[in-house]
Symmetry: C2
Subunit: 247 residues, 2 copies
C-alpha cells in the first residue's frame, strides 16, 4: 500500500453553511461530489468531530459555496482551521441568507447550492451526507479552486479531521499542475536581483511552523518557553505539531 | 435553480477495472472521492445502466487507475464511450493484473488502487460503492488530469450516464483554468503567419459533430443520407445528437 496515491485524487474546495437556531456556522470541505444528474444529488463527507457535522445532523440542510482561486485565503483559514463551537465564523465575511434561513458565503465564490439531506452513511470517523440539491445560483465567473491549487499554490494543508488528511511526511507523487508552476515562476520573477543577492548572502531564517495549517510562530516568547497547553492560534493544534524549519 | 453550478465542481478522472470470470472490463469515472483517511475508504458513483456497475455488484471488488494529463485520449475514449458488453476494452491498452485477478491500466497513469466494496447506496439512477482501499501503488510522476482539464483542454464531454452529465446547452460559468488558457495560447502560437492568412481567406469548414463525445463525422456518405439507426462510432449515440458546426 502506497498512501501517497491519495495525493493524486482531485477535488474542489467548498464552504459549507449551516445554523444552530439563529447562529450561523460552517466549515471547509473538499469532498463534495455529484452522485446523480437527474435528480441532482450530491454527497459530502464530514468528520464526526466537526461542529458543522452535528448541526447538519440536526438541521438536515446545508449550503455549499464553491471556492474560487480568488477567494481570500483568510476565508479558508477562518472556516477551515477554527471551530464554530468557539468562534462566529461568519463575523468577518460577506454572506447572504436564503429564505430557508441558511447562510452562504459570497466572497469571490463561483456559486452556491442549497442541499437537503436524504440519507446518511456512518463510517468509522466520518458521516457521508447524501443530499438533494434544492436550489443553486452562480455568483462570479471565476476559476474554481482545486485542492491541488490550494496545496501547491496557496501552500495549504488539510486539517487533521479532513477525509483527505495525510501525515505531512507522506510524499507528494504528483507533478504540480501548470498553474502552480506558473505562480512559482511569477513569484520568482517578482524578486529583484538585489533581493536575490541579499538572500544568498544572509543566513536563512528559521521558525516554528505548524505542520497542520502552516502557521508561522512569531510571538515574543521563545517557542520552547510557551506553556505545554499552548495551541496554534490558526488551527488549534498543540505545540507537538510545530516543527523548526527554514522559512 | 441554476444547473450550471454543477460545472463548477472539481473532479479527477479515473479508469475502473473489473472482471467477469476471465474477461476484463472497466469504464471511466470522475467521481472517485476519499471518505475517510484512517482506514482509507473511498466512494464511487456508477450508473446502473453501466456494464461495469453489474460486474462490481457481483465481484464486490475493483481497481481505480488515476488518469494523468499525458494519458492517451484513445484510452479515455475506449473506456468512456464504448460498452464492455460488446467490446474488449483492454485489448489495445497496457495493463497489469493483481494477485486478486483484477486488472489496472498502466498507460501514463499516476497510480492505482485496489478496492473492496463495503457498502452500497442505491440512488434513482446510480449506485454509490463505498469501498475500502486494500492496496495501492504509484506509477508515474505526472499531473493528475482534472475533469476541467478534460473539458477545456481535451474538449471532452461526460457520457449520458455519468453522474456529472449535463445537457451541452447548459452554460459553463467557469473561467478556464490557467493550464487550459496556456494550451490555447500554445496552439495559437504554433500556427504560422501564413496559416493564419490562408485561414482568413478560405471559408471555415463545417462538419457534423457529436454533442456527447465530440466525434467529428468525416465519412464518404453525406451525413444526411446515413441510415436512421446509424450511431456515433466513438460513443454509440444516435444521429439526433450530431450538430452541424464550424470546426
Amino acid at each position: 500500500m502506497d498512501k501517497s496515491i491519495f495525493r493524486t485524487l482531485s477535488y474542489g474546495m467548498y464552504v459549507l453553511g449551516t445554523k444552530n437556531g439563529d447562529r450561523f456556522s460552517g466549515c471547509i470541505v473538499n469532498t463534495v461530489f455529484q452522485l446523480t444528474s437527474e435528480p441532482p444529488i450530491i454527497g459530502v463527507s464530514i468528520s464526526k468531530d466537526n461542529y458543522t457535522h452535528d448541526l447538519i445532523m440536526k438541521e438536515k440542510r446545508f449550503t455549499a459555496s464553491v471556492i474560487s482561486e480568488n477567494t481570500p485565503v483568510s476565508v479558508i483559514n477562518t472556516f477551515g482551521f477554527r471551530t464554530g463551537r468557539k468562534t462566529d465564523k461568519f463575523e468577518n465575511v460577506s454572506y447572504k441568507v436564503l429564505p430557508s434561513g441558511l447562510p452562504y458565503v459570497t466572497e469571490k465564490m463561483c456559486g452556491w447550492m442549497e442541499c437537503e439531506v436524504m440519507e446518511t452513511v456512518s463510517l468509522p470517523t466520518h458521516t457521508v451526507f447524501i443530499s438533494k440539491v434544492s436550489d443553486s445560483g452562480i455568483l462570479e465567473r471565476e476559476t474554481p479552486m482545486t485542492y491541488a491549487y490550494y496545496h501547491h499554490v496557496v501552500k495549504g494543508n488539510a486539517p487533521k479531521n479532513a477525509p483527505t488528511h495525510l501525515n505531512p511526511d507522506v510524499a507528494d507523487p504528483t507533478k504540480p499542475a501548470e498553474s502552480a508552476q506558473n505562480t512559482d515562476r511569477i513569484e520568482t520573477s517578482l524578486k529583484t536581483s538585489s533581493e536575490t543577492k541579499s538572500e544568498s548572502k544572509t543566513e536563512k531564517k528559521k521558525a516554528y511552523v505548524c505542520r497542520v495549517c502552516g502557521h508561522v510562530y512569531d510571538g515574543d516568547i521563545p517557542f520552547e518557553e510557551l506553556p505545554a497547553d499552548w495551541v496554534c492560534p490558526t488551527c488549534g493544534e498543540g505545540k507537538e505539531n510545530f516543527v523548526l524549519k527554514e522559512i
